[in-house]
């Protein structure tokens, strides 16, 4: 392979519509901190959005192969704890810890995946959920190592705020690109075939067990990486990372955004993280409703969570392909308008 063919391959990639869009998105996101000079927004909201985009993408890849996990928080936490412990106890640099954390998470993911290979929809959901419960029980037994509910401080690759924002963006971009390449590869095709109909996939000679396990390992690797990033952004890790919400959020994000697509989990992460962060801000707006509810004094956060549930149900019922399908429809509609206009002009010209 000489220089020319490499150059041609690279320019071909640059000519791809999808690549141009993706590049545009990354550039726009990268420019954000220049315009938004707010530490909370950049360091907490935007960075969390990017981390959760990766986390939801990892969940999405698993669902792409027809496997729905209800216990992904276990892998998020394993990745986070692995990198935090490596950094604090052994002095491993956080950037190395990031990959080792991912690898450890993938290693445990391999074992869990091995147990799940033959299980169908709800059985799989149960086992993964159960695994998360077992993990948190075991971790809670060793408070001297894992720090229990209080947790312990962890170092970060780069200082929190804008530098970490860029580090997260870079790592997430590479990771999501990798996930995309996997989805578009021969492996991805096998995942899709298994999702559509496992029996038929098996019949045409796909080793379903192998590919399901593969999806599990790749997914848990990136979930572990996301866990490391989340820990390093918070500069502290505790058993709180295993909370049930962390298992459900990637699912909600992927479904709301659009299951099985590249952009779905990213859009979902933007929408759901906004809603999640909104619950802190929304309080003054929602507080006048408090006489209606005698259960809590501060209604904002709880009411937002009810809204989140309703939102999820409505999306599943009326927009089964997620928000991204809506965007595609709008895009198609606009383009269609353009082309018909052009067509009309051409006809006039004739």
């Amino acid at each position: 392979m000489n220089f020319k063919t490499v150059l041609r391959a690279v320019t071909n990639v640059f000519r791809l519509r999808k690549f141009q869009y993706a590049l545009a998105v990354v550039v726009v996101v990268a420019l954000l901190p220049l315009f938004v000079r707010n530490d909370y927004l950049v360091g907490s909201v935007f960075t969390d959005m990017i981390i959760f985009a990766l986390y939801a993408s990892s969940w999405n890849l698993l669902a792409y192969s027809g496997q729905g996990s209800l216990g992904h928080a276990a892998f998020l936490g394993i990745g986070g704890f692995a990198s935090a412990l490596l950094a604090t106890k052994l002095g491993v640099p956080p950037i190395v810890g990031l990959f080792v954390g991912g690898l450890i998470s993938a290693g445990i993911g391999f074992l869990v995946g091995l147990a799940c290979v033959r299980l169908k929809a709800w059985f799989l959901a149960m086992v993964t959920f159960g695994f998360a419960v077992i993990t948190v029980t075991i971790v809670s037994q060793f408070d001297n190592i894992f720090g229990g509910m209080i947790g312990f401080a962890t170092p970060s690759i780069v200082p929190r705020g804008t530098p970490f924002f860029y580090a997260t963006l870079a790592i997430t971009t590479v990771s999501i690109a990798t996930i995309y390449l996997v989805m578009k590869s021969k492996w991805g095709l096998a995942f899709k075939a298994i999702h559509e109909n496992e029996l038929e996939a098996k019949m045409i000679g796909i080793n379903t067990a192998k590919y399901r396990l593969l999806a599990f390992v790749i997914s848990t690797f990136f979930a572990g990486v996301a866990g490391c990033l989340l820990t390093e952004n918070q500069l502290i890790i505790s058993t709180d990372i295993f909370k049930i919400d962390n298992s459900f959020l990637p699912l909600i994000m992927a479904v709301v955004g659009g299951l099985g697509t590249l952009e779905g989990p990213i859009i979902g992460s933007i929408v759901i993280t906004s809603i999640e962060k909104f619950k802190d801000v929304a309080n003054p707006i929602l507080q006048p409703l408090s006489p209606l509810f005698r259960g809590v004094t501060i209604v904002g956060p709880t009411l937002t969570l009810v809204g989140l549930g309703i939102f999820l149900i409505l999306v599943v019922l009326f927009l089964p392909q997620g928000i991204t399908s809506l965007l595609h429809k709008i895009y198609d509609y606009l383009r269609e308008g353009e082309t018909t206009k052009k067509g009309a002009q051409k006809n006039e010209g004739k």
């Binding site: 147990a115 929809a121 709800w122 259960g295 969570l305 549930g309």
Partner: protein, 291 residues
């Protein structure tokens, strides 16, 4: 002393078992007929407990009468859920069921948090509270005895419903082959609606009994669902006797384990067992062979 403690743990196990039986039977009924798993089933239990609480404290009904009210209202909720949510996704990807249930969990749990005080001390005031039959070193409260009787009555009613009535026959036919029963003139939409309502009513009854026996809060729904699911996986999908035996055994085993060992391990041990069973038999102990 050890034996007295053990006996007490056994009794609590039976009380817990009563609730698990109702929950698992309802879940199993819905699964058997509709091939659908509603992960928000435990949230229906929680709603049932709060309905019974409101009916007894505000309206002033006897708590044991409030079980009926609770069953009725939760059945109504079930009808709404089946008609407007689960029916729409029937025949689509199985993952959709999990998504819808998850949304329902959020809606029910946090609505309850908004509407009722989130304290762990709420309990339905029973007129029989404190009364018990002394049995040697331990005592058996009247509430537990009554709860057991109610569970038995409900189960007999359920068996009668499925074995002796026309709609029960339709339910059994649909559970065996829904396409064929549709061709035989069974309106399976009605059968599904009815099944879901009955399953929900059982959860409502379980909730009211839970409220009488134990203190509760809006978060109680989550774990019982998982346990009920574990019970039907172990006891056999679609088998009501399996759910009854499994529920009782699980309740007793859980409490005795909790008494003998550290109670923080209770749930983890239960899940470890469940996972072990599923690894060996992916469709459950008595499940049918794969599709």
């Amino acid at each position: 002393m050890i034996t007295a403690g053990l006996a007490q743990a056994l009794l609590f196990g039976v009380a817990n078992g009563c609730i698990y039986i109702l929950l698992a039977t309802g879940l199993n009924l819905i699964f058997g007929v509709m091939k659908l798993v509603n992960f928000a089933h435990g949230q229906l239990l929680m709603v049932g407990a709060f309905v019974a609480y409101e009916v007894t404290t505000v309206v002033g009904l006897n708590p044991y009468v409030s079980i009926l009210v609770s069953m009725g209202s939760v059945a109504l909720i079930g009808i709404v859920l089946e008609k407007f949510a689960f029916r729409k996704i029937r025949g689509t990807d199985k993952l959709n069921e999990i998504f819808i249930s998850l949304g329902l969990i959020y809606v029910f749990q946090y609505s309850a948090t908004l509407l009722w005080e989130n304290s762990y001390t709420i309990r339905i005031p029973s007129p029989l509270a404190g009364l018990s039959v002394p049995l040697g070193e331990v005592s058996l409260s009247y509430d537990i005895i009554l709860a057991m009787i109610i569970v038995v009555v409900i189960l007999i009613g359920l068996v009668f419903l499925t074995k002796k009535t026309k709609i029960g026959l339709a339910m059994r036919a649909t559970s065996q082959k829904s396409d064929a029963s549709m061709l035989m003139g069974i309106n399976i939409n009605r059968v599904y609606l009815f099944t879901f309502a009955v399953g929900a009513a059982l959860a409502g009854a379980a909730g009211a009994i839970y409220g009488i026996l134990f203190p509760f809060n809006p978060a109680i729904g989550a774990l019982p669902t998982i346990k009920a699911f574990a019970i039907i996986i172990l006891g056999g999908l679609g088998s009501i006797p399996g759910a009854v035996v499994g529920g009782l055994l699980y309740g007793v085993a859980e409490n005795v384990t909790g008494y003998l060992t550290n109670s923080t391990w209770q749930n983890a041990v239960a899940f470890a067992l469940l996972i072990a069973v599923l690894i060996i038999r992916p469709t459950g102990l008595f499940g049918e062979k794969g599709e």
